[in-house]
Symmetry: C2
Subunit: 590 residues, 2 copies
């Protein structure tokens, strides 16, 4: 239907007749002379309808005079050089003098037009109009190029793209499953996969060696600000490997893909950090290394101090007392400090002690703080030295259990970094390794898996693992970029006895394990090779590359935070007869 794309008409075509298809981006009628910006996915070109002796000219002028935003056109015309060059667009040196304008489809008055950026609900309802905007096209295209680059990289290296089922078996761990009633099996259900984890492990046992899949995964969780019910991961698994084989391979892949898609050169090699170090220095297992601020442990300095909260947590076995210097923070108003305390409270803080260093040379006299009176001079001095605090700085203090103190001080570190303009430009990837195997769930009174129950422990000996479960380290690893966990993986358990022991430690009884993971335990008995892998969050990586905060900008048809598709109206009620066919009914409200 066309000879060229609008956005690619250039000086080489001057004098030639072209046929273009696209939408009316802007139409100006100057009375007998009309200008139309015609837009397709490649860009915009200016169409001119002007009086001439040519046959059909009257019709061209009449059509051009009555165009509206987003009318869908086919235009034939002659390319000529433009008098008023427009440097902002690629086609800005030329224009097309129309000899024929065909309106393929009129557009009614729009709910909003392409130059606006209305509320997200409107954008999602009229997603087809929203996606026409060049900025959305750019972001979506970044995602498309990311996935293309990943596939090309993996295909070239012998990874095999294998599809795993979407209708599968319910699993008990982690987030909640979506359930699908089975018509042929009354009272039974399929579940949508939270990830292809077990299938990819089975593929290694099936002899596939190196697997990948751009896999759709599903989690029926309340949607946080930036979670979707369904999301996409690059899922990978390798047979006969150790941690470094996996890490070195995918690190090279990520580096190559960032270079190819957005021209960014990531560190080579990525820095590496244990979980313990990340928590200690940054209060997070996904530290944003663009922010140079670090936490300082001061428990040793305040064990004997009179400030009870500090002394108690400093002496508690699982306590942590930690300080964070805020450069220039002596300028904070009382209100600002209260706001930071409120912010820390959202992450579990019961209170947030602080200190302003108004003049470091003056000792206690130069310090403004509600808690200074509980600390002796030597302690005050030691704190300033430990935190490298100087005149003009503030110091915030967290005292709580190790986990809680780390969480809220880690969150405060990010917030201060942003507020104080201390986020460096650029890209800071790293590996976080040596995660704990288990976390103790106080409420449930049992261990839960920090990665997932198929992650191998660092020790090979089952008795050793049982005896030291609380401190056991796993063979899991995360890839972190600018404070986002973009990938997570592990070496898996490949022995049936070890897998049973781990289920046991996680409080998954023999019967339950057999019922839910029987096929895995059985498969491990028939010569399962050592194997491991990783999964990357495609939505998040695409958003980072596209420079947007919201993954919804890189998903063609995202759902809202209330799990709805505003365009199609999903979810929706279903007639009872249709539910009867799949043997379920809506539960009466209780």
């Amino acid at each position: 239907m066309r000879t060229h794309y609008c956005g690619l008409v250039d000086e080489a075509l001057i004098g030639q007749t072209v046929t273009l298809c696209g939408w009316v981006d802007v139409a100006r009628n100057l009375g007998g002379l009309c200008f139309v910006d015609l837009r397709d996915h490649e860009g915009i070109v200016q169409i001119v309808a002007e009086p001439s002796d040519a046959e059909g000219n009257a019709e061209v002028l009449a059509t051009a005079a009555h165009l509206h935003y987003e009318d869908c056109l086919r235009v034939t015309g002659v390319v000529r050089a433009r008098h008023a060059i427009n440097d902002r667009i690629r086609t800005g040196k030329v224009e097309v003098v129309a000899t024929r304008i065909e309106v393929l489809n009129k557009a009614e008055p729009l709910p909003f037009h392409a130059h606006e950026n209305p509320g997200e609900d409107i954008r999602l309802k009229y997603r087809y109009l929203d996606l026409r905007r060049p900025e959305m096209q750019r972001m979506m295209r970044t995602r498309i190029r990311l996935v293309q680059a990943l596939r090309r990289w993996l295909d070239a290296r012998g990874f095999q793209d294998i599809e795993t089922p979407i209708l599968t078996k319910a699993t008990p761990e982690g987030a909640r499953d979506f359930l699908v009633p089975a018509r042929m099996h009354p009272g039974e259900f399929y579940a949508l996969p939270q990830s292809p984890q077990l299938f990819k492990q089975i593929l290694m046992m099936a002899g596939f060696d190196r697997y990948y899949q751009i896999a759709r995964c599903f989690r029926d969780e309340a949607l946080r600000a930036d979670r979707q019910l369904e999301f996409t991961q690059l899922d990978m698994e390798f047979a006969w490997v150790s941690e470094r084989d996996v890490q070195d391979t995918v690190e090279a892949m990520i580096r190559d893909v960032f270079r190819e898609v957005i021209g960014v050169e990531l560190a080579d090699p990525f820095p590496r950090m244990t979980y313990a170090e990340a928590m200690r220095r940054f209060g997070s297992d996904k530290p944003d290394l663009r922010i140079v601020l670090e936490l300082t442990d001061i428990a040793e300095l305040v064990k004997g101090c009179e400030f009870k909260v500090f002394a108690d947590w400093a002496n508690a076995a699982d306590g942590r007392v930690v300080a964070l210097r805020a450069p220039g923070g002596a300028q904070f108003s009382r209100k600002q400090i209260d706001d930071y305390a409120a912010y820390a409270a959202r992450f579990g803080a019961k209170g947030l002690a602080w200190m302003k260093v108004e003049d470091a040379a003056k000792g206690r006299e130069g310090i403004s703080s509600p808690i200074a009176k509980f600390l002796d001079d030597a302690t005050l001095d030691a704190i300033l030295r430990a935190t490298h605090a100087n005149t003009g700085d503030a110091i915030f203090f967290g005292a709580a259990s190790y986990k809680v103190a780390s969480d809220f001080m880690g969150a405060l570190r990010l917030k201060l970094g942003k507020d104080l303009g201390l986020v460096e430009d650029g890209w800071k990837p790293l590996w976080v390794t040596d995660f704990p195997m288990f976390e103790w769930d106080e409420e449930a009174g049992r261990f839960v898996a920090l990665h997932h129950p198929f992650t191998a422990p660092a020790v090979d000996d089952i008795d050793d693992l049982r005896a030291n479960a609380a401190t056991a380290v796993s063979r899991g690893y995360d890839m972190v970029l600018n404070g986002n966990e973009i990938g997570g993986g592990s070496i898996r358990i490949h022995r049936s006895d070890m897998q049973s022991a781990v289920f046991d430690l996680l409080g998954i009884g023999r019967e339950e394990a057999e019922l839910k993971f029987g096929f895995l335990l059985e498969a491990l008995r028939y010569g399962a090779p050592p194997h491991g892998g990783i999964a990357f969050g495609i939505d998040r990586i695409a958003a980072l590359m596209a420079g947007t905060e919201s993954i919804r900008d890189v998903i063609a048809f995202p759902k809202t935070t209330t799990a709805q598709c505003l365009m199609t109206g999903a979810p929706s009620p279903i007639p009872d007869e249709q539910l009867a066919e799949v043997h379920v009914q809506v539960r009466p409200k209780t």
Copy 2:
């Protein structure tokens, strides 16, 4: 963990030390001398454990003496030339003399081993063992290469790979939807997509120009012999195109991909045939052109004959009387003919008239047939001439409504072709075009869409379509290969008024249309471009390329015909508390 793949060890490595990982394919202990065939995804190599002075030799021999099928090993050894060359395997000129054998994982006695081909239920339950078989590896690899080749082809031509939602809105047409209860919206449900049809059309309206996706689709239908609940299609859509743009592009793609993946050169161009011609000559809209037999219409010859069934249907407005020559069929026994009649009955035949031509030169005397007595000499002669029947042939006759007669005679044609060895080798692709827009559903008393309700009619004029709905032709097209519909598509309706008119003709009321397709009708009002596309069945194409009848051979984890995954045990019962969270309950049996 290894230096080389087992299947790739060759003479270039003679004298070198290699480390290999794999499974014990066969282990033979000849008393102090052991041979092990070690297998990985690339193939098999022979390992030798023999007495020597080397350190650790006793351990190597002891380990080698106690190996079993599918034990998982790491072997280090020296490559040497083999005395008894094995020509059947790639590594047959070498062997590896083991200096170290590490058992990474023992295998328990197997339910079956890799050299057997047990019943499909056992294969599906122990899918990981089944997939280790080289034949399964070969078939799965064919699929992987097919998808890779398609993607590479499309990426190189600017098609954009865009994901569409899996959790979407229930649609009313075609096969049944899988339903997913929505936790955040009590009493409401998502549906799994039967195809991304509407999303891809919306993407064209959103300015994406050329889209593709290797898309998972879902149909909750009773599983026929060779259908899966979930299946994979290459889904494509183009903006600003006509039929030939789509057809020429994808025809070139299929030709290139067949050449690349299995070295087959398909016809260039593909033959083209209208729906009417395909039904007339082959009784099928997906004719297998490898079979040269064709149907012969004889209604004109039997309109006045005494055989009432023939005469009635020959004179009926929608009747068809059709003959099919079976070369050499004069040899059929009575039992064989009865079997063919029973076969035709499965496709709707009420009876199957026949004629054996024992001697064509003898006229009526040379013909053996229960119906010959109802036909005069001229008619008999005319039938022989029309069907080109000769001495030794049989002729089968179908008389029924056009559709029923075509169906069972088309099926009989395929069966006879196979039974008589008249299926040519090779690959016979074609396009079938000019489908009817609607079929009249006698039971429902209304039209149904032959493709789907978004397919454009050949006429642009709504009044014309309304006036001639029964004979209206659509802009749909199918790609057929060796009797399989491997792809189907159409130019879509891009005007809101035409879409409403088609819904209307299909008996979808205004309110229902608004409720279910309101977003489509609305999107068509804002400058929707002309667009069209196609979808290819990846499972079927992969099976054809791999040379297997069953698509289950090219799906890693298929379900049975009773919709179960025998490996994981899906579907399965779900505790009532978990159902309560998504606001449904199992329906009591009635």
